[in-house]
């Protein structure tokens, strides 16, 4: 296709607004970027012919061929490390881990190499790559398919950890992640892969990384969350509004590096904060958020910061997963408790 034809097609496409789910938005973003940057390649288990177990990569092989859409052997460590080698050559690999519960075999590569390649070569080589993994519970999956261990990655210097909470943000943040010159761990909340649809303009427009999104403004309390829990957090805000409590809802989106500025400004306004996350409480990102607020905005606080989280247990099998996950009522109760103080 010549340049002007491509432009015309882009323009037509840019006006194309589609009602899509979160996982379809992931697919749209991958397709857009692969079409516009030949360095973008995708790799992972079952991603080519099968389109991935969640179908995030469906149709890509047909459009871009096996050379750029690669089924790998079943070896997570290898997937993580191969992507690093590719990235050092200027490719922009997007590697899929079938489930976050299997990413640990690749942990050494991610932590020991992807995150530090730029630093240890004084900028000579770097890793513009994305590690995608579906994460979180609530879909009746077997063991090892439901955890939210995002804090493991948030602790690692040199990594960005990005978590979308809606189709629009999945599209915009994934584009930003692929275009980012450094490694990004992109965690997709699979519980809301297909929970809602949203209109997304397929125009290649990225959203900013390293910044929180204020989803709803309010004066009485700041609700801070990310990923699938945003859904319950927004529902809780609706319920609270019925009681006359005005909640500000912030989607952290990039959990590392953390945009403390937005969080602190909000708490300065509302004087109260409740943090909601699905992951275990101990050492979770919620603890970092709470500590940041306590350190820098202690005098703005009118009540202690409260966390609504999963328990410090192994994520139970699906019969009990609802008992583990934070619910709308849990959030509402926590807010009522904080407001009463």
């Amino acid at each position: 296709m010549n340049a002007s034809a491509q432009k015309a097609m882009d323009k037509r496409k840019a006006s194309e607004v589609k009602e899509v789910t979160l996982v379809e938005a992931v697919n749209m973003a991958l397709a857009w970027e692969m079409e516009h940057d030949e360095n973008v390649v995708v790799l992972g288990e079952d991603i080519a012919t099968n389109g991935g177990v969640f179908r995030a990569t469906v149709g890509l092989k047909e459009r871009f061929g096996f050379k750029r859409v690669m089924d790998t052997p079943l070896a997570e460590n290898l997937i993580a490390g191969t992507a690093i080698g590719m990235a050092t050559q200027g490719l922009r690999p997007v590697a899929e881990f079938q489930f976050m519960g299997f990413i640990y075999a690749g942990m050494e590569q991610i932590v020991s190499h992807a995150a530090r390649m730029r630093n240890r070569t004084r900028g000579r080589l770097h890793c513009p790559l994305v590690y995608r993994a579906p994460f979180g519970g609530g879909i009746h999956a077997p063991e090892h398919h439901s955890e939210s261990t995002e804090a493991l990655f948030a602790h690692v210097p040199g990594l960005r950890v990005v978590i979308p909470s809606s189709p629009q943000r999945a599209y915009g943040l994934l584009l930003a992640a692929i275009r980012n010159p450094d490694p990004v761990v992109f965690l997709e909340p699979k519980r809301i892969y297909r929970a809602v649809t949203q209109s997304v303009a397929d125009n290649g427009e990225a959203l900013p990384l390293d910044t929180c999104f204020t989803l709803r403004e309010g004066d009485d309390i700041t609700l801070i969350s990310w990923g699938a829990s945003i859904l319950e957090t927004l529902q809780a805000a609706d319920k609270l509004a019925e009681q006359g409590i005005s909640a500000e809802v912030i989607d952290v989106a990039t959990i590392s590096p953390l945009d403390r500025e937005t969080l602190l400004c909000s708490v300065a306004k509302t004087g109260r904060a409740v943090i909601v996350h699905e992951a275990c409480r101990n050492g979770g990102v919620g603890a970092e958020v709470a500590a940041s607020i306590a350190e820098a905005a202690f005098l703005d606080l009118q009540a202690p910061i409260v966390r609504v989280t999963g328990y410090d247990t192994i994520m139970p099998y699906y019969r009990n997963e609802q008992a583990y996950l934070p619910h709308v009522e849990d959030i509402v109760e926590a807010v009522e408790q904080v407001i009463a103080l």
Partner: protein, 364 residues
């Protein structure tokens, strides 16, 4: 009906322990200049090595892994590779690094604890040394995949120890290289020891090279102290890789003549007798004897070379010792391409602290 599958692994050796050819040498041996250059590089690596160990002993360098015994393999790799190929090294490849263009000063900076020692101004695409054992094998197949995707006729040489060949990273990587026909040469440098673990209890297979068979790759054993054997094997494997014929595994059998690192004491786990026998097979001396036997080398040349190498190394040491450390803000400056706003105050904090304490060493 039963069907039998047969595989073989060749072993190659051209020179006896004293440097005398067993028979005809491979065609590479006709290139006297190349052979002389190889010998010079081996002596330079050895000189660098003993000097660096001395620096460590006097507190001027960090823990350092000796290259003693590996000079032949590293030199053959460095000579055989095209400039545009990519070396994915491990930590005992000093002889190869020198030929790839890594300066002695950079090597000293690296082991001296300065990240600029991996900046490698002259071989910008070679991968840095991977400290977690064998992890680099996965990077090698990634680099090779990039060449394949782009249709570039370039190859990768990936070095790993006999201990490293026990790791999943190695096995996963040769498996992928076989499945995707990637242009990689895996060099297993079998020096008989992984710290204190001897080769015999590292792996139950008769040879390490035969692991290649499981990955659908040719495996080859060479005497790692025999310059001609290693050179021929690496040349052929690179030719195969450049020609789109896929990967190879070469097991270079050698011996680690020194301690594992300057923090190790090998007398705790291996006998003096074993070490003495290993010295009798030393590849550097062997090549010297060979060159001597052909009339290409003599005592005067040796003396001159030794003096030249000492001079080069001493100069590099001087430069290294005169290099100011980077300012501590450097730890932020290469973390991401642009520093996220969230980290800017941390960078300022360290800059202020450093300034307040009268820190020197470049702009913060």
């Amino acid at each position: 009906m039963k069907q039998r599958h047969e595989f073989h692994v060749d072993s190659t050796r051209y020179l006896d322990d004293h440097g005398k050819p067993f028979g005809d040498l491979p065609p590479q041996a006709r290139d006297v200049e190349r052979t002389l250059a190889a010998y010079r590089n081996m002596v330079l690596s050895r000189t660098f090595d003993s000097k660096t160990i001395a620096l460590q002993r006097t507190g001027k360098c960090g823990t350092y892994p000796s290259v003693l015994g590996h000079e032949v393999v590293g030199t053959a790799i460095g000579q055989s590779m095209a400039k545009t190929d990519v070396l994915v090294p491990y930590y005992r490849d000093q002889a190869a690094h020198i030929l790839r263009g890594v300066s002695l000063k950079e090597m000293l900076l690296y082991w001296g604890g300065d990240e600029r020692g991996s900046a490698w101004e002259n071989c910008r695409e070679d991968l840095p040394i991977a400290v977690p054992i064998a992890t680099q094998c996965c990077h090698a197949v990634g680099v090779a995949s990039a060449f394949r995707i782009r249709g570039e006729h370039r190859a990768v040489v990936c070095c790993v120890g006999d201990g490293g060949s026990s790791k999943g990273d190695f096995l996963e990587s040769i498996n992928l290289a076989g499945a995707w026909h990637l242009p990689v040469v895996f060099m297993v440098i079998n020096n008989q020891w992984a710290i204190s673990t001897p080769r015999s209890i590292q792996c139950g297979a008769e040879t390490i090279a035969q692991k290649a068979i499981g990955a659908g790759l040719p495996g080859h054993i060479v005497d790692g102290n025999d310059y001609f054997a290693v050179t021929e094997a690496v040349d052929q494997a690179l030719e195969r890789a450049h020609g789109g014929k896929g990967a190879s595994v070469i097991e270079a059998v050698t011996y680690r003549l020194g301690d594992h690192t300057t923090a190790d004491d090998a007398t705790r786990y291996r006998s003096a007798d074993e070490l003495k026998k290993a010295w009798e097979r030393d590849g550097v001396k062997r090549l010297q004897n060979y060159l001597h036997g052909c009339g290409h080398w003599g005592a005067d040349q040796e003396k001159q070379l030794q003096a030249e190498c000492r001079e080069r190394v001493d100069k590099a040491v001087e430069e290294y010792l005169a290099t100011e450390p980077e300012p501590p803000t450097a730890m932020f400056d290469y973390l991401f391409e642009t520093l996220p706003a969230a980290l800017q105050d941390q960078r300022e904090r360290i800059a202020n602290k450093y300034r307040a304490r009268g820190g020197q060493g470049g702009a913060v």
